[in-house]
Symmetry: C2
Subunit: 176 residues, 2 copies
């Protein structure tokens, strides 16, 4: 049942059995850009949405971890890669699917990397050979554009943006 609890301002899903209020709040997706000299690591997705397209390692933050630890865990799970977090780099709001992306810059500790269970292939790319037309998500595309632009300028700044639904797309619920 959905109703506005006493003292609240928005309708919430409330269990009719036990009166528990099930708050539904935005999810944080944490990930990183793993760097090795001039190249960065990308993962080719083995799962929907956007199977076969490339992304940075990222996924839902879990309870009990920090944002940086979540980004490291996702990088290990998706690319069997160990990274040291350098700094937060980009925050993207995706309000139409209730998600917030937080991506870090990270230093890859070695090149002993391989595809995890949700990944078809792991590879290292420089700006020139990056598969710009085969990136899975707008967040990844925007973040990587900023990344290489900042690298040219010699200074990495923190970026924030909002991803709107794509007018011609039928899968706006599939941004992750």
């Amino acid at each position: 049942m959905r109703r506005i609890p006493s003292g609240d301002t928005l309708p919430r899903t409330i269990c009719e059995q036990c009166n528990t209020i099930h708050y539904e709040n935005p999810n944080l997706i944490v990930g990183c850009i793993p760097e090795w000299e001039n190249r960065i690591l990308l993962c080719k997705r083995a799962i929907e949405p956007r199977v076969g397209l490339w992304t940075v390692p990222a996924g839902f933050m879990e309870n009990g971890e920090t944002t940086a630890a979540g980004a490291q865990r996702e990088t290990l799970e998706e690319a069997n890669a160990r990274v040291e977090i350098i700094a937060p780099y980009a925050l993207y709001n995706i309000p139409h699917i209730n998600q917030v992306y937080l991506l870090f810059r990270a230093k890859l500790l070695d090149l002993d990397v391989s595809a995890g269970a949700e990944t078809l292939q792991v590879d290292m790319f420089d700006e020139d050979d990056l598969p710009w037309d085969e990136l899975a998500f707008a967040t990844v595309r925007n973040t990587l554009r900023h990344y290489f632009s900042d690298r040219h300028n010699g200074e990495f700044r923190f970026h924030m943006g909002t991803i709107e639904p794509m007018p011609t797309s039928h899968d706006t619920s599939h941004q992750v």
Copy 2:
């Protein structure tokens, strides 16, 4: 019932009736430091936890909004104050209570402010008269220390940190 769903790595709460998986992920708390010349706005809390202590306007981000819009909404709700968001300023992980704080710098648009329903009192403070010993949360204390330090240095940088449980406190679940 809690078990590890197929293809997952962590136990989740699963409804035995409909097999819905109830993911429990960290919550984002969004807020801001509302600035007016050399002073900032703080709210004296009317609700637990930490009733009677001072905080910046902040609260749980809601579905369908951006982090900045959530910070503006909370500022309006708690202090009847209108702000323009300047930039993201601080991110704090509080892993033991599954929260992530994101606080912005913001420009107060006028001084027509007053206590909202969850606030006892709203007031403007400069660094010298700020109630440092009556701040509600470690996130607020740390953020404001950075804020005034950055102001002295003439440059506001983005800060990230992690709040650990307080060893002598019994209310570590009450950080918000």
